[in-house]
Amino acid sequence: MGKFGFSVMETRTVNFGELDNRLLGYVLENEASFLTCISCGGCTATCSAGNLIDFNVRKINLFLRRCDIESLAREIDKCMLCGKCTLVCPRDINIRNVVMLIKKGIVKFRNE
């Protein structure tokens, strides 16, 4: 803040040019059904964890595609893997595998 009493703010804008999408690639390569997500939110609506806390499964797709790994890691940790999302998904996406792959990918790319 210094002498001014304010400072330059960070932008919230998603800048598509500067995204690191290794994790996205890893997940999509190993679970192709995830490509077909239409962000309908059915998963979020049924989610057991989401019923308990502010947790949005749909946004996992979003964070992954926007390469917001920090938010992704924070959110994915809340999943209880109960599998309801997979059962309601209209596009038959294997969401539990996506969750597991993300968990694995986070460890993998953190170490790389």
Binding site: L52, N94, R96, K104
Partner: protein
């Protein structure tokens, strides 16, 4: 003594045997040392108990007679038995013969193995002709197994098997060597008999025949040498091939009888089991994933563990339905082995359920836990609440609004530590409720409540058991309809928890059950299993539809199950009316109890 060949020809055999013995001994020691302290104490105590004798008998029965394979598949059983037991008898009687020949217990280790090479027909010893013929017959016995094995390679259908395990190079060498040992022995003994007149009822006529057109001076030593090499190759390749299962299985039987158990982490007992797999392929055939052309069955997992190339794709592509474990002739704990591997592979994964702290608790006699899957099949939930209201039970619907998952899906994925957090939270709430009974609608939850929750003084029941008990107490109306139904055993409730009869007895009050081929222990998986992380929905559908098609052959009016996930999965097939056992019971209440309609309505509204 035969002068035509220096004794050096036995060395391939001797070296092989020595190598084999050292490696196997080394492994046994390493495995033993790798066990936990408690397990070691168990072994120490067991060694001096009856368990040792029991184990020896079992080892004889399973390792040599292959009783379990016999039961599943008699031809396959005979093949294994003739090879293993026949060879065993050859060795045993070969030793007796050597004793008889030498008149003492001291003779070189190779003598019984190459006996006819060393013994001239003009020498005599007790029971000479008896031994010669007995050994011939035993060899014939073994050879019958070998020829079945040949045949199996080329035509597996003879054995009623759809699949055969794929071979690795180590296996190939061992297999080739094994296939060659006994024919070579037959040839060698026949050649020797032709020269030395020392054969039995088979080898002597054969020898005489061969002597007419075979240059025995040359072929006899060469064949014995080849026989020795075949043995040597076999013993050398054995520890690195699937035939390691022969010693490992014996070791496994002893450890198992000494109450050594699999832990939640991979240890040397896991390895003992991995090495005990004969890759007989029985697990392959029973696996429903074959229908979807998925090749991740237990035998491959064990093989991959041995070869240290297990991938997530294989490890997590399993329904954990338990059918393979049910039929495994060696008794390997296939499910737990897979789960421990899953635990191992997900150790670094993170999870955070800090949001679970606390939660509402109500006092009641019975705690009802519907489970996540039941929330996706609200008719089950509705039926259970109707039944509770009808029977006047003081209950608390624990996960009516907000409750964590039971933890089992996490466990199935290997995430035990994560599951523990959920378990702890649920456990505290259940204990705080003061209830004496926990009723669970989902078999997946049921199993974890039984096995992994610490709920002293609380009886955990799946709703099918609970409803059976209510019926016995006369708290439920009975109303037999003309409907013919099939009862589908959910994996987790049937093979997983051994509950087969209570649901059937309960249902007999409402519907007539059609007996079907694949039921109880042999029941099919619906395909919906949460345990399979990798399978695609389209592949699940194949399994589901296959099961449905099998059921439809019996033309039932409805398919009854007692698992919300089975119900949901079968309903997806959209081929037959699928009901939960609770719905069947609840349907009779609505009919009988119109005066209670008001109360029902309230319950109904609550439920919805």
């Amino acid at each position: 003594m035969n002068k035509l060949l220096p004794e050096i020809f036995i060395w391939p055999f001797i070296i092989g045997l020595a190598y084999f013995s050292i490696i196997v001994l080394y492994r046994f020691v390493r495995w033993t040392l790798g066990l936990s302290k408690i397990d070691k104490i168990r072994i120490w105590k067991g060694l001096r108990s009856r368990k040792t004798l029991d184990s020896a008998i079992e080892a004889f029965r399973e390792g040599l007679l292959h009783r379990k394979i016999f039961r599943t598949n008699p031809v396959l059983g005979y093949m294994h038995m003739s090879l293993a037991f026949g060879w065993f008898l050859l060795i045993v009687f070969g030793h007796f013969e050597a004793v008889a020949y030498k008149g003492s217990l001291s003779f070189p280790v190779y003598l019984p193995i190459f006996f006819r090479f060393f013994v001239d027909g003009i020498e005599t010893y007790p029971f000479m002709h008896f031994f010669a013929s007995l050994m011939d017959l035993l060899l014939l016995f073994v050879l019958s197994g070998v020829s079945l094995a040949y045949y199996k390679r080329f035509n597996k259908k003879l054995f009623g098997m759809k699949k055969a395990t794929r071979l690795k190079s180590g296996d190939r060498i061992a297999l080739t060597a094994l296939w060659l040992i006994f024919p070579l022995r037959l040839l060698a003994e026949s050649f020797s008999a032709g020269q030395l007149k020392n054969g039995g009822i088979i080898t002597q006529p054969l020898g005489n025949l061969f002597s007419l057109f075979v240059p025995l001076e040359l072929t006899t030593p060469v064949t014995w040498l080849a026989y020795s090499f075949a043995l040597g190759f076999f013993f050398v390749s054995l520890p690195n091939s699937r035939y390691m299962h022969i010693p490992a299985e014996v070791f496994f039987i002893f450890l198992r009888n000494y109450s050594v158990r699999l832990k939640k982490r991979v240890n040397t007992y896991s390895l003992v089991q991995v090495f005990s797999c004969s890759r007989c392929g029985i697990c392959l055939d029973t696996c429903q994933l074959n229908l979807a052309n998925i090749h991740t069955q237990s035998v491959y997992v064990l093989k991959n563990i041995r070869n240290k190339n297990l991938t997530d794709e294989v490890l997590f592509n399993c329904l954990l339905c338990g059918k393979c474990q049910q039929v495994c002739p060696v008794g390997i704990e296939l499910i737990d082995l897979r789960i421990t591997q899953r635990i191992e592979s997900t150790l670094q994964y993170n999870s955070s359920y800090s949001y679970l702290a606390g939660g509402e608790v109500k006092q009641a006699d019975v705690v009802y836990f519907a489970g996540c899957m039941t929330h996706l099949t609200p008719s089950i939930k509705k039926s259970m609440l109707q039944i509770f209201a009808y029977s006047g039970v003081d209950y608390w619907f624990m996960d009516e609004h907000k409750a964590p998952c039971c933890g089992r899906p996490l466990m199935q994925a290997g995430q035990y530590d994560a599951a523990a957090v959920l378990i702890e939270n649920n456990q505290q709430k259940i204990l705080a409720s003061g209830a004496k009974k926990l009723v669970v609608s989902c078999p997946i939850c049921y199993k974890v409540f039984i096995e992994d929750y610490n709920l002293p003084d609380i009886k955990v029941q799946h709703h099918s058991e609970y409803l059976f008990e209510l019926m016995q107490m006369g708290s439920l109306p009975k109303r037999l309809t003309s409907e013919k139904s099939i009862y589908h055993d959910p994996c987790e409730l049937g093979r997983g928890s051994g509950i087969y009869d209570k649901p059937r007895k309960l249902l007999s009050n409402y519907t007539s059950l059609i007996p079907i081929m694949n039921e109880k222990e042999k029941s099919l998986c619906c395909g919906g299993s949460l345990s399979n992380i990798k399978i695609q929905m389209s592949e699940r559908d194949i399994i589901t539809n296959n099961a449905l098609d099998e059921y439809l052959q019996y033309s039932p009016d409805s398919l009854i199950t007692s698992c919300p996930l089975c119900k949901k999965t079968f309903a997806r097939g959209n081929k037959i009316m699928v009901k939960d056992i609770s719905e069947v019971v609840a349907a009779s209440i609505v009919q009988k109890n119109k005066s209670n309609a008001c109360a029902d309505k309230k319950v109904l509204e609550q439920a919805l």
